[in-house]
Symmetry: D4
Subunit: 160 residues, 8 copies
């Protein structure tokens, strides 16, 4: 019974997606993470998107690079919220992944996060904000997470 289903287009995306996973572990929210490619395993993606909700999935997170079709393909097969993480790329520095993920046509929304690790971390937090709407425990943890973040910054000392 995983609440959050994470797909990534390639095993090499895991380095980025670990930022997502670490937050979910910290929040002790159940999740599942798989490598599935919109382009190389299209049928497996569709099947997974259709089956996952029966296993408890409430939110999808999809990470992909270059012509990053994964989040859009997931979104085309579900009415559950889909969060997209544009993976940094070697040549165009993630601009290709970003535009492919964010510029969705009207009718099929994808919630796009920032390129790379910042986006991966925020994908987890955004999924938690969604789950928090009906889960007071998560809501409290999010408030606390934000508070810790604030306190950490407030305590930052710099030597000038």
């Amino acid at each position: 019974m995983a609440k959050i289903s994470i797909l990534m287009g390639s095993k090499s995306d895991l380095e980025t997606v670990n930022e997502t996973i670490n937050v979910l572990k910290e929040f002790k929210v159940s999740f599942e993470a798989k490598v599935l490619s919109a382009h190389r395993t299209p049928k497996e993606v569709v099947k997974y998107v259709e089956v996952a909700p029966k296993g408890g999935t409430k939110v999808f997170i999809a990470a992909a690079g270059m012509s990053a079709a994964l989040a859009g393909v997931v979104a085309s097969h579900t009415t559950l919220p889909v969060i997209g993480i544009p993976i940094e790329t070697k040549n165009l520095k993630g601009l290709d992944s970003l535009l492919s993920t964010v510029q969705m046509p009207p009718g099929i929304p994808v919630a796009c996060m920032a390129i790379g690790k910042s986006g991966a971390k925020n994908a987890a937090l955004f999924a938690l904000e969604i789950l928090g709407l009906s889960d007071a425990r998560i809501r409290v943890k999010l408030l606390n997470y934000k508070k810790q973040m604030r306190l950490k910054i407030k305590k930052t000392k710099i030597k000038v």
Copy 2:
């Protein structure tokens, strides 16, 4: 008791945001729409974000152009989901709004949609997907909406 709170940075953004509003009306989901600017009415934004949840707000939608700080500022004051719509701009065609909205630092997620009207429409649908997680009536309507969209395309005849 509005479920969805829509903020836009300038009255001129309404032409775009009407795409959001029309979808919410079609779905008969309560919403509230206001002009408030992150830069020109910063305190009003904060106050609104803090008060709105007491009035029932579950999801924020923020539309802004240029250095589009609005969605990020809203997100910095809430742990409810915040959806950002980058408004098209005269000179840089919305690239400035897009990067300002999507490139959020780790810790403060914003769900960025496409630039302009496509994004505005999808902001509504994404908010509905979130509300649909705990509202079967919305879920059914979303499935039907998607079905109608599919049927419309399937019936499209082109003359070649």
Copy 3:
């Protein structure tokens, strides 16, 4: 028995795709053109791609804008050549469509043409070059087409 199958993501793409169609008509090569969206009718796209070869399709041409996933989705379901036309977009002027179409991951090739009408015309010509490899009549017509193009330029008079 259509040799070339043209898909476009939206009816509004037809204005661009007509450049493709006009060339194919001029060459009297059989083709079929349909509106099917990777995001709004994903299953119909897959079904079409699987069935079309049985009807004689040798080459696919896919035109789409914004997060232009159509050509890539077609390519993920076939080993026939797929040609992509990035449709011009209102905000990012087709840069989003171009990067989504051309930046395919290794393993799933798409032959990307130029943005908009230039690309649409060339998509037809490139498909004809492929068919020409086993069809002497098309080869001769292509040589003649190129010759006419050259003669037209050579005869161009400018008044300075």
Copy 4:
């Protein structure tokens, strides 16, 4: 009797083009690879493009960087299919090579692949898809290649 002729603008492009070559070797399809520059050896390029078809060439692949004119120049002298690989560049990261390769004027098509090694690999696969139209052995190998790719992803285990 090489079926595929590969040109690259500079010896340094070979590191990228090896991705093309390795796929063709794996498929046991005959090919020829040469360093010829549109700008530094323009006459040799033309001569090669005119002679190669007599030696069996069915498809040209041209790799070049910066103002990447090579694929376009090849295309201007043949009606055989020409596939372009935009080489990554030091300063503009291949954006210059991409736009020079893909933005061909109407009349002279070039099938542009992704920037760098992904594009180089796909150039080989796309050439094979073209040859596969009249060669059942290649068609079968392509289906098998795609299947192996799919199986490899399906078997990918990630540790989270």
Copy 5:
């Protein structure tokens, strides 16, 4: 009694901001530097901006990266001059920070400097030019600084 208040969005920005600090030290002008984030400590930023002028602040300098809202948020709460430093970013190389900092809507000016260390150094010099309007000592030092810079270049010998 600090004349110049420097805020940076993250401790990692200090490497860049040290260029600012070193110039101010060299000019012996009092300053204060703190880590405060527009997104993670929004209330602390507002409070700081409201209180600092009472401590003598005449000019604010704000350094931030990605969706760099900090300078704009500071500017929205003061009518003192605000100078923005767009921090270099990993993926988009500071283009995101630059557009977020410079593309301010009418009514709330931010004086944007170049991306990274060049901008950080110039932020200090620009603040000094402002203070110099009512401080002859700074004016003289600025003239001398510029003269030294000129002399240093004039004395540069290159070996060719």
Copy 6:
């Protein structure tokens, strides 16, 4: 005795610069506006920059498009604050003007505003913020200006 000296590179820039002028008139602050080009009247620019301070100039505002050297050239001849307005351009939409204005090398600061009319308006306000440091009347007017702006937004009614 003009407090603010405005230079623009071409008469056609006046349409944009009128946004600057209108604010200064509203604030009743003396200013002077001239067409002088860094490239076409370089000596006149230098002479003007050297003479203007004797006439009372405290702040320079320079507006230019394309390779917008004007603000930088002014800055190279003064230690007074220089504010740059990147003029929108026909082809690159002001991106060329923006990068030319903002990417100043270390040592010669220019305070860059947004592209076009937004930036032109803010140039005036930023100049006023600088003058306000030693002019209580301007300070009060700026506070009032900001308050009116806030009130105007607060009173904005939208019909949804």
Copy 7:
């Protein structure tokens, strides 16, 4: 006996190239202008470049859009100076033409001007500067041209 040979890739480029032509007429320097395309009439371009010097050509000017190979192709066949004018394009606003024209590989220089009409005018002036090195009449006219330009700006009155 034309001193300057102007090539343009398409008749539609003439609107831009007329800026070049008008300057040359004003200077009464002999020139020849032809439509020849690097991609559609490659052999005619080469022949023209080889023959023109015998007719007196000292400088080539080449105007082209999109994947603007013309200037580079001319340069590859001559050691006379070649000036490139990147033509504005519908989608990418001339960025494609600019990068294709300017990013020449080492060994084959092209002197790139600005995009569109500004560049077209400057192409003529730059060609005249080259011819002026051995033609005192042109040198004097250039000095006078520059002086008139300066005087025109100095006399510009603006109403503020």
Copy 8:
């Protein structure tokens, strides 16, 4: 008596400009190279540009990065040909230098080369092409240089 005057905005540009210098040495053409900055030593630049022709300068080459005003400033003070080399930059990879150098306003031409070392090498060759118009020895050397370049490519062996 130097025929070619090379200016660079900073000593760090020498690494790039050495590509220019090495070609000029190889051609045994007299040149002079100096570090002078448009922004930090504006008067020295003007003086140099005015004096150099008396010492024999026929062509200026100016290399600068970021807001690269140097070539334009040189061009504004001379009617001799000015060649610009956009220096690669840390953040924007030379895109800022390129646009600042190439997008010159009508009336003041600069011949822009490619970003970085390729452009630096071509700046020398382009200057030689200009000098070659009245110097048969240089013309012959250029033809030979081009021939050697061609032969080198023709002899390139690659191992596949």
